[in-house]
């Protein structure tokens, strides 16, 4: 008799789903903590325990946000900030990914390039800011280069580590199947290192966003960072809060985007997801 159980057609529908009736959706669970904090904050502000200039109430911040939306000011600043961050990220992460792939793939490249990269990595972005201003002035270029400098390293290191952690036994398979160098890269190295690369992208996006604040605070006439600095000068604390919250929300959205990408591209992974 044959082992009949092996002939049962595979179906993803057979696997139990994580959704259970009567339970809060995951995204709603993530909102529980901020809602509690905001409720306490509103109560404390409403009772007049803290000055509005020091800590404006959430309602005042919302009001300020609505005003900024209606006037269209927020969108102008946000558009410029996003373009700056994106430009810097694409430049830095693009070079980081390419160099990480080259250095990870070839041993001589590692010997010649990696020690310098490791030295540069330890230099804080803030330390190179004055140099960038001296070289490129206060223009867009210096801001984009500062963001690029900061977002280069996370993706470079993660791509390099991703390639070096590819199971060596799979290279024997590639040899037996006579993979060309290009196929080795596309069919083996890149997919095997993808989880590390995506982590690098997440970290790089985060760093790009953080550096954007530094770049815009160091001197600019537009962008969310400028809006914050401007509001500070006029003691418009609620506007400062709007700027900070915008930074937080956009940062979280970009991170979530990469996480969705991770879920789609790494659906084959069978790793521990944490206990429920």
């Amino acid at each position: 008799m044959k082992v009949d159980s092996l002939q049962i057609p595979y179906s993803k529908a057979d696997t139990p789903t994580k959704k259970q009736k009567g339970k809060l959706p995951l995204w709603l669970k993530g909102l529980v903590l901020p809602v509690i904090v905001i409720a306490i904050w509103q109560t404390v502000s409403g009772l007049g325990y803290v000055s509005e200039t020091v800590l404006p109430s959430p309602l005042l911040i919302v009001q300020s946000f609505i005003e900024l939306v209606l006037s269209g000011e927020i969108f102008e600043h946000l558009k410029i900030s996003i373009l700056r961050a994106l430009g810097g990220f694409l430049l830095g992460a693009g070079i980081g990914l390419a160099l990480g792939l080259i250095v990870g793939f070839s041993k001589p490249s590692e010997i010649y390039v990696d020690p310098t990269m490791q030295m540069l990595r330890t230099i804080p972005s803030l330390a190179v800011t004055p140099l960038f201003i001296l070289w490129f002035g206060f223009d867009e270029l210096s801001k984009i280069l500062l963001i690029a400098f900061a977002s280069f390293f996370p993706i470079y290191i993660n791509t390099f580590n991703g390639i070096r952690s590819v199971d060596a036994k799979l290279f024997d398979v590639a040899r037996v199947l006579e993979f060309s160098k290009r196929k080795q890269l596309t069919c083996l190295i890149f997919p095997a290192a993808l989880s590390h690369i995506l982590l690098g992208i997440r970290l790089s996006l985060g760093t790009a966003w953080l550096s954007l604040v530094v770049a815009e605070l160091m001197g600019s006439s537009s962008g969310v960072g400028y809006m914050i600095m401007d509001a500070r000068q006029f003691s418009q604390t609620e506007k400062v809060f709007v700027g900070i919250i915008i930074f937080g929300i956009v940062g979280k959205l970009t991170d979530s985007f990469v996480k969705v990408l991770e879920k789609r591209l790494l659906k084959w992974r069978n790793s521990f997801e944490g206990v429920h």
Binding site: V3, L6, Q7, P9, V176, N270
Partner: protein
């Protein structure tokens, strides 16, 4: 002649000592034959298979497949590893195709045919983490077979599987061998497996690895393990094994 094996010496450097693993092995495998290689642990049977595959080229001697000298791994020497070594990010069908384009109708047809042969219909879209070890090993066999190798080399492919799955896969392998009429070399440590599958059994002794005996098996397939002829061959292999034990582990030596 399908495969001509001549390994004069294969040695490893362990610290400062040279350790000879294979010494003077000469074997000829006729086209369409199924050779099983068996021997005590550390006798160099897997090393020998890697040499035949071209995965290990640091030895004295030569390997010829259909008159061609083997100097590197190639798809004409299909290889199935002890662990399935599937690409975890590829589905079953993509693993079988690997670097071949699944959208190509010829490749698609061959992949479908392979899936049918290794009895994996219905699992084409499953990832390796979603199927059993036995099924994964069948995918690995299909991946090697789809490239029409001249010889299929199998390194203890069923070693880590349970008895039921192993028996099932042995049947699958014999089925493939009879249909495709392909030359096969299988390394195993399971005596029954070597007799069930092989047209010839090469018994190796260790320290250094040398050919102890080559037994020709004249039994019809599928082979019944309770058959007296099967038991007789088993007895013969065991006797040779006892001799290899004395040779391999004299003075408490062993690799």
């Amino acid at each position: 002649m399908a495969v001509q094996i001549q390994v004069d010496e294969k040695a490893f450097q362990i610290d400062t000592t040279k350790k000879v693993v294979l010494d003077g092995i000469e074997l000829k495998i006729e086209e369409g034959d199924f050779l099983t290689i068996i021997g005590p642990s550390g006798c160099g049977k897997s090393t020998l298979l890697k040499i035949i595959a071209g995965l290990d080229t640091e030895y004295r001697g030569s390997i010829e497949i259909n008159g061609r000298n083997v100097t590197k791994p190639a798809i004409s020497q299909g290889f199935v590893f002890q662990e399935h070594r599937l690409f975890p990010w590829m589905t079953v069908e993509k693993n079988i195709a690997a670097d071949l384009n699944l959208k190509d109708p010829t490749v698609r047809k061959k992949v479908d045919e392979m899936i049918e042969i290794v009895r994996l219909k219905g699992y084409e879209k499953a990832y390796p983490s979603e199927i059993s070890g036995g099924m994964s090993q069948r995918v690995a066999i299909a991946r090697a077979l789809i490239r029409d190798p001249e010889v299929l080399l199998l390194d203890e492919p069923f070693g880590a599987l349970d008895a039921f799955t192993r028996k099932h896969l042995q049947d699958v392998l014999i089925d493939i061998w009879q249909k495709k009429k392909i030359t096969m070399v299988l390394v195993t440590h399971d005596i029954d497996e070597s007799i069930s599958l092989g047209t010839d059994i090469a018994i190796l002794r260790s320290n250094p690895g040398q050919l102890q005996k080559l037994i020709h098996v004249e039994l019809a397939y599928p082979r019944n393990r309770t058959n007296p002829s099967f038991q007789y061959i088993r007895q013969q292999v065991l006797q040779e094994f006892e001799k290899t034990d004395t040779v391999g582990y004299k003075d408490g030596e062993g690799i």
